[in-house]
Each structure stands twice: as structure tokens, then as C-alpha cells.
């Protein structure tokens, strides 16, 4: 073996070892556990093989169904709002000359703060009795709203928190993208007398498309993982109004101690998302190749 080959192997080895021991092995363990009913007797696991029956249960589980539906709704709603707002903010920022860095500093703040802290902040702001939102409603003589305790507003309230949390991230990526666009095409568009909307539609958006797609995929990946805010704000309620799959897994596996069943649910979510990601990647790659 040539010496470089030996070197490049051992240099890759630590990463492969970590992935094997802390990612692949646990996934294999999950699959094994998903085929069994596991009871904990004095800290010892007692396995009873049940085949694929727990998978059938996952798809019929009303909590899981509500969770899957809400997760999709949450991800679609939050990410769409973040993309539009973040893009608009970035576009505005590129049109000012002074103070760009200051605005960027302020907008960076929510990205860096723990999700649980964001949850804590909004839990106080949404509070029925003394939250700032209801105080503002009171100023206008309006009745207070139970934002998180009402099935009609709870999911929307959680989406608002996520939009507040992550629009700055979209803003940052869009700003970086806009700042790196060539200036000559804009001059050409000006010379041709293009209006703002024409310029946006025919110059900016097409040029920004790759950055937009990457940001969109980034955001979708993170938003389907949502857990912290739900844990702190609503615990999935009221009823199943804000139940998301991460929370359902947590509930079944940890709160209720259904090790085997929780594993089956984890396996379903894990492979569904991995597959969705690979498909999304294939589609965006193909588009890149054809254009």
C-alpha cells in the first residue's frame, strides 16, 4: 500500500468511527427495538419479539397522524413566511447605503439564542394574564386572547415564534446572495428602463434561484425537527392542535416508556425524512444539470 493511501484512510477513520458508533449502530439498534415489546424490569430490558406489528400501530396512531399533519403544516407555513419576509428584508437592506452592518447585527441575534429561551420569551409574551400581547390588546380596549390555549390560534402562535426565530437566517443568506450578484446586469436592466418589479422578476429572482433553493432546503430540514418551542409553549396541546412528530416520539418513548413502539415510530420518521431529503436533492441536482 502506498503511504498516502494509508494516511488518507486513518485521517478519515475518526469521522467514520464516530458515525458508525453514534449514528449507524443506534439506527440498527432502533430497528431491532422496533420489532420487540420492551419492558423494563428493575432497569433490565425484557424483549419480546412482536414482528412488524408496531409499525402497523404507528400508522393508525391518532397522535402520530395529527403530529405528521401538523409538522407538515408548521414547516410549510413557517418556512414560506420566512422565505418571503427574509428575502424582502434582504432586498431592502441592499438598497440602503449606511447602517447595513448594524441591521445585520440586530437580525443575527435570534439565530444565536437557544430555542428553549425563545420558547421561554414567547411563553411570557403570550401569557393570558400578563403577557405583553394581551396588554397591547387591552390598550385598544380588546378582550384578551388565550393564544396558546385555544385550538384555533395555538399552531399559528407557534408558527409566529418560528418565523420570528428564523426569518433572520433567511435574511442573512439572501443578503449574502444578493451582495454577490454581478452589477452589470442591473445596469443593463436600468438602461433598458426596467421597472422595480420587472427587474425583480427577470433579473434578481432567476439569479438568486440557486441560493433560494439551498436556503429553502436548509430551513425545511430544520423546521421538521421542531421540538424545543413546542415542548415549552404548548406540549402539543390544546388537544392535538400543536402536536408534532418529534413531540409524539418523545411522548411515546420517554414519557410513556414505550421503548419498542417509540423506536418503530422513530424508524418511520427517520427513514421518511432521509428519503425525502435524498429525493429533494436529486430533483434540485437534476434542475441544475438541465439549466
Amino acid at each position: 500500500m502506498r503511504p498516502e493511501v494509508a494516511t488518507r484512510r486513518w485521517m478519515l477513520a475518526p469521522a467514520l468511527l464516530l458515525f458508525a458508533a453514534v449514528a449507524v449502530l443506534p439506527i440498527a439498534e432502533l430497528v431491532a427495538m422496533s420489532l420487540a415489546r420492551i419492558d423494563w424490569i428493575q432497569g433490565k430490558a425484557n424483549w419480546q419479539y412482536v414482528g412488524l406489528s408496531q409499525y402497523a400501530r404507528v400508522f393508525g396512531d391518532p397522535l402520530f397522524r395529527a403530529g405528521a399533519f401538523n409538522t407538515l403544516l408548521f414547516a410549510a407555513g413557517a418556512v414560506l413566511a420566512q422565505m418571503v419576509l427574509g428575502f424582502a428584508l434582504a432586498l431592502m437592506t441592499t438598497r440602503i447605503t449606511r447602517g447595513r452592518v448594524l441591521y445585520r447585527t440586530v437580525f443575527l441575534l435570534p439565530i444565536l439564542v437557544p430555542g428553549i429561551v425563545i420558547g421561554a420569551i414567547w411563553k411570557l409574551m403570550y401569557n393570558f394574564d400578563f403577557g405583553v400581547l394581551n396588554q397591547m390588546l387591552g390598550v385598544f380596549g380588546l378582550a384578551p386572547v388565550d393564544w396558546l390555549g385555544n385550538g384555533a390560534t395555538a399552531l399559528l402562535a407557534v408558527i409566529v415564534v418560528d418565523v420570528w426565530h428564523w426569518t433572520p437566517f433567511v435574511f442573512l443568506l439572501m443578503l449574502a446572495g444578493l451582495e454577490s450578484l454581478p452589477t452589470d446586469v442591473y445596469e443593463a436592466a436600468r438602461v433598458d428602463g426596467a421597472t422595480f418589479w420587472q427587474e425583480l422578476r427577470h433579473v434578481t429572482l432567476p439569479l438568486m434561484l440557486p441560493a433560494i433553493v439551498v436556503t429553502l432546503v436548509f430551513r425545511l430540514i430544520v423546521s421538521v425537527k421542531v421540538f424545543d418551542e413546542i415542548y415549552l409553549l404548548t406540549g402539543g396541546g390544546p388537544g392535538t392542535a400543536t402536536e408534532v412528530v418529534s413531540y409524539t416520539i418523545f411522548r411515546r418513548f420517554f414519557t410513556e416508556g414505550q421503548t419498542g413502539y417509540g423506536s418503530a415510530m422513530s424508524v418511520v420518521v427517520l427513514f421518511a425524512l432521509a428519503l425525502a431529503f435524498i429525493l429533494a436533492r436529486a430533483v434540485t441536482r437534476r434542475r441544475e444539470a438541465t439549466t
Binding site: A211, K225, L270
Partner: protein
């Protein structure tokens, strides 16, 4: 007033409004941290600032906040170091050491797919695994989990930064008879130092902020700051003031990094997403 000036004023007005929407909640929680529970519940606008919440949080015998803070520093620090070392080695190996293309693609795809998987789906398996290894409620368990979760982003970022290093630099060193490890340490690392800083800051913040893994793999002795804050919100009688004070203090590392390393943060967040 001319048109350009009017436009500029309108834009600044809109951006200031957005900045207020972003800052408002932070100001509100900061104020809440200095209020008594009663003042908070009455929704007082004018109030006498009190340090009671902070005193209770930091020095009371029933509060573990300082220990939580130390735990978070240990976990985030150690997992950052692991990610930096492991991902730099791996990134250099796949970028510059002549692996067949399919190996590189497969490795990066695997890392990207792993990055798309929610941590909660793995936490159950980790819990069972670390329990059977007697590692539940140890720093090592959380550190290993955090390091692995952040490894894809570390490899991705370091590969992007190493790719930008001119090959001529290495070739010159090779001719001088430099070994691979020495080359990496003496030539590559100094050149990608800003990239390493960006990766370090990002991984540190990810680990510092991480909740669901820490929640399920730690107990009292190793609980991190987010776990502690969540506990304040979940207890029978929610201690709002202390929760606010704890939340406020937990943002200190982020504020420090924002102040001193903003350039690196922006670079880390945007690298790879924008060419």
C-alpha cells in the same frame, strides 16, 4: 425633498420597525428578569428593578444554575474540539488526498442525509445504548452525541474552506519533504484559521443551544442550561422571574460571540449556501 432621499428614509423606517420587532421580545424578557413575580403578573410598566431573581438563580441552595452553566461550557467546549479535529482531518482527506470520486460523494451524501435526520429519532437509541454502557448522565454521552450531530456541518464547512486553499502552497511544502500531518498542521491550518474559527463558533452555539438530547441523556448532575430553563417553565408553580433571568444569562455566550466574532458567524452560516 427628492425621490432618492424619500426612498432611503422609507427603507430605514421599515428596517428600524423590523429591528424593533426583533429586539422587543429580548428587551421584554430582560425587564422581566428584574421584576418581582407580583410586578410581572400585574404587568407593571414602571417598576423598581430588583436583583432578587438573579440572586435566587445564582446563589440559592435550591438552584443549580451555576452548575448548569459549567456543564454547558464543558459539553459545548469538548464537543467543539472533537468536531474541529475530526472534521479537519476528514475534510482534508476527502478534499486533497486523491480518493476516488464515488467515495467522496458517498461520504458527503451520508453526512448530509444524517444531518437531515431529527435528533429525537436517535435519542431513544442513545438512551438505551448509554444506559447499558453505564454512561447515562455523564458528560461523555452528551459530548459524543453533540459531536456526532455536528460532524456533518463541521465536515461540510471545513471541506469548503480547505477547497479554497491554493494547491501550490502544498506542492511547495511537499517538495521540501513535508509529511502529510506536518503539512496539515503547518500549512493548511494557519491558512484556514478563519474557517476554523467560523466552524468552532457555530458548533459551540449549536451545542450550547441543544435541548432534546441534553434533556434525555442528562440528569441533575450533568443538566445543561437549556434543560434548567425548561425546568423553570415546567415546574408546578412556574417561576417566571427566575426563568426570565436564567434565559437572559444563557444568551451571554451568544452576545459575546456576536460582539467579537460576527464576521466568523456570518461566514459560517453563509459558507456553502452562496458561492
Amino acid at each position: 425633498m427628492n425621490r432618492a432621499r424619500l426612498q432611503s428614509l422609507t427603507l430605514h423606517a421599515a428596517l428600524v420597525a423590523c429591528a424593533l420587532v426583533v429586539l422587543g421580545p429580548f428587551v421584554w424578557i430582560a425587564l422581566a428578569g428584574f421584576k418581582t413575580q407580583i410586578s410581572l403578573m400585574l404587568g407593571e410598566i414602571a417598576f423598581t428593578p430588583m436583583l432578587d431573581n438573579f440572586r435566587e438563580l445564582l446563589f440559592s441552595s435550591t438552584s443549580d444554575y451555576l452548575a448548569n452553566f459549567r456543564n454547558s461550557l464543558i459539553v459545548a467546549g469538548a464537543s467543539t474540539v472533537i468536531v474541529l479535529v475530526v472534521s479537519t482531518l476528514a475534510a482534508y482527506s476527502i478534499e486533497r488526498m486523491g480518493w476516488p470520486r464515488w467515495v467522496v460523494h458517498l461520504f458527503l451524501l451520508g453526512a448530509a442525509v444524517f444531518n437531515a435526520i431529527p435528533a429525537i429519532t436517535l435519542v431513544g437509541a442513545w438512551y438505551v445504548m448509554f444506559r447499558s454502557l453505564d454512561m447515562y448522565n455523564t458528560y461523555a454521552a452528551v459530548i459524543l452525541a453533540h459531536a456526532t450531530l455536528n460532524l456533518p456541518i463541521g465536515i461540510w464547512l471545513m471541506a469548503t474552506f480547505i477547497r479554497e486553499v491554493p494547491r501550490e502552497l502544498e506542492e511547495a511544502a511537499r517538495i521540501d519533504g513535508c509529511g502529510t500531518l506536518a503539512l496539515l498542521w503547518r500549512i493548511i491550518v494557519p491558512v484556514v484559521m478563519p474557517g476554523l474559527a467560523a466552524t468552532a463558533i457555530l458548533v459551540f452555539i449549536h451545542s450550547w443551544n441543544e435541548f432534546v438530547v441534553a434533556l434525555n441523556l442528562t440528569a441533575k448532575q450533568t443538566a445543561t442550561v437549556p434543560v434548567a430553563i425548561a425546568k423553570y417553565a415546567q415546574e408546578h408553580e412556574t417561576k417566571y422571574g427566575e426563568m426570565a433571568a436564567g434565559a437572559l444569562l444563557s444568551t451571554l455566550p451568544a452576545l459575546l460571540l456576536l460582539f467579537f466574532g460576527q464576521r466568523h458567524i456570518v461566514r459560517g452560516l453563509t459558507a456553502g449556501a452562496v458561492k
